[in-house]
Symmetry: C2
Subunit: 363 residues, 2 copies
């Protein structure tokens, strides 16, 4: 049997730096645990634009459709800010999500004990925090038509469309309820049903799906209140289900509760392929971080944890994923820190590769 295939798309900025570290972890699993992958690598985002004039070449898109899982670093950067919207680096990422139909974006917000002191929030509010946000990722205002900027009465008008079908809401809801069943059986759905009809449909469909998961305790919350409650008392949440745009904002808000964005992985899952594995892409929640690019300062943990999620959700290797997570807990408990985990911009911690060295040693 051939090895499972992985397509690595480092993208831009620190995406490239942290992905180099993930390759070291992948190599470790080959050498020490006899777990092998067929790894290929390609361009996405600004890097792809520089070479091909498009943030995602059709050949890359085709490859992504064929592999067992995609690992993506980060896209974008100030060099591309003035590009035309249609070729912005972000379009590459959005095209991958849309064409692979990765509708369920899993964003854990977990606070490692050793880092509880580092959160903006008081320690008692975040110690032991473990939230899973399930964000719908292929629809909503990110993709709805009509969209664009046009002239009306000699004036520019900017338009985007929030559009959700009941099927789109439902399949994401099932992913969220399934997740809740594996965890503490508590799900909170967030929308703005008080001002948006798409939010009313969201609430109705989630309530209908609930009938198939009677054991799960379901609640509904307006997204503005959700943002507030995440800051006020985040431990009240276990699984949160929300739409593409609210999920973007709320998951960044939740991410920050854990102390560092440099710690947080994500998985974007679609329907099962012929081999039974879900279509899948894994990426750190952080961006390309132009301010620290090229300085060896980036924290590779989010990207390494994204690979751990791949082991768990694509390759049925939950034990190996847990092995990585335990190694990371250990190095954090030992006090190993990249700069982002030190709170003081001037303190120098270990380098990007120094962090990986420590993790490999602990594995």
């Amino acid at each position: 049997m051939s090895n499972p295939s992985l397509l690595i798309l480092p993208g831009d900025g620190i995406g490239q730096e942290v992905m180099a570290e993930v390759r070291r972890v992948i190599d470790w699993f080959g050498a020490k645990r006899d777990i092998h992958f067929d790894v290929s690598e390609d361009l996405v985002g600004g890097a792809a634009y520089d070479k091909h004039g498009t943030p995602l070449h059709d050949d890359t898109m085709a490859k992504a459709q064929e592999v067992d899982a995609v690992l993506l670093g980060a896209v974008g950067g100030p060099a591309y800010d003035d590009l035309d919207f249609s070729v912005k680096p972000e379009r590459g990422l959005l095209r991958l999500r849309k064409e692979m139909d990765l509708f369920a974006n899993l964003r854990p917000a977990q606070c490692f004990d050793a880092l509880a002191d580092f959160s903006s929030l008081k320690k008692e509010l975040v110690a032991g925090l473990d939230i899973m946000i399930v964000r719908e990722l292929t629809s909503g205002v990110y993709f709805g038509e009509p969209r664009g900027i046009h002239m009306e009465d000699n004036m520019r008008v900017g338009i985007n469309t929030q559009r959700y079908t009941e099927a789109e809401i439902e399949r994401g809801a099932r992913a969220a309820f399934d997740m809740a069943m594996k965890r503490s059986k508590k799900l909170c759905s967030m929308e703005k049903a008080n001002v948006m009809e798409s939010g009313i449909l969201w609430r109705d469909v989630v309530t209908e799906v609930h009938a198939d998961y009677p054991e799960v305790e379901l609640s509904h919350m307006y997204a503005d209140n959700g943002a507030m409650q995440l800051v006020r008392a985040p431990k009240q949440f276990d699984v949160i289900y929300t739409d593409n745009l609210f999920g973007d904002i709320l998951s960044d808000c939740a991410a920050m509760l854990t102390g560092s964005l440099g710690m947080l992985p994500s998985a974007s899952l679609g329907a099962p392929m012929a081999n039974g594995r879900p279509k899948a892409m894994y990426e750190p929640v952080h961006g390309s971080a132009p301010d620290i690019t090229g300085q060896g300062k980036a924290n590779p943990i989010a990207c390494i944890l994204s690979f751990a999620m791949a082991l768990r959700y694509s390759f049925d290797q939950g034990d190996e994923a847990a092995r990585i997570e335990a190694a990371i807990e250990k190095v954090l408990a030992d006090g190993v820190r990249t700069g982002d985990l030190l709170g003081d911009e001037d303190t120098v911690g270990v380098s990007t590769s120094g962090m990986t060295d420590a993790i490999l040693a602990a594995l």
Copy 2:
């Protein structure tokens, strides 16, 4: 000359309780400072629905258009959750905002020294915090057409439209730049220009308006990053300008940084009327709080501070507004607390009217 006119719309839940306290403050200004208002009162939200079958009667709407300022409590509550969207209590509030054309919603997030310990965030991150969010309030996805739930291929589809004209973005931007000029001349504009064309137009128009305010330091931030930065290091911000939906979420997030939603007022301002005063409505940021309604537990400070904003922005009585704010600082420094400011749900502080007693004594 006749007295300036105030229309009081207590609305639902604790809206009615806190507004009763504001009337005591208004009476105090008449008795002690010889500042008089012609006060009338009417129904809005669920209370109006119960009586008239609509959350805002046309007569009430007409009155709101005539007075010098409207004071609103809060709308909504679980009794109205299953109402048809078109008569939900929130529709009353949104109709007021839209028909009065109150495009600039000012939402201060200020942390009173005496309460810095009470925030979810570490004290050093919030002590002295003083942010002003300017939220566009009459357009965007709250009002865009087409909207609704319809059938397509035998499936329900929920649609809302984010729609901004350059004129709408511009007038709000001018309000935000004017505010920045009165404060520390720093403005951060937030959108999702990386995924939404309406966000690109937003960024472009704000940049164009900047030409008229060369002294202001302008920055742009994606709204997801904005949510994160508000939690990470809120003091980096002074004035924030954002759209209706992002403003809803980000201002609730910012509000929570200050410790209690029971503390935060807001002003919604429109164009100048014939008498030179802006069309204006003032309301606390908190909602109708059904969980504590009728128990005398509500904190009246947000609503009293909303009246102070009315004194400042509608009636050119900035000194009197400052007098109220100073009185509130004093009672907080003296340790007077409603339950929401005590952190422990079981600790009983002063009652709603007890808090007002203390404020009036300090005035």
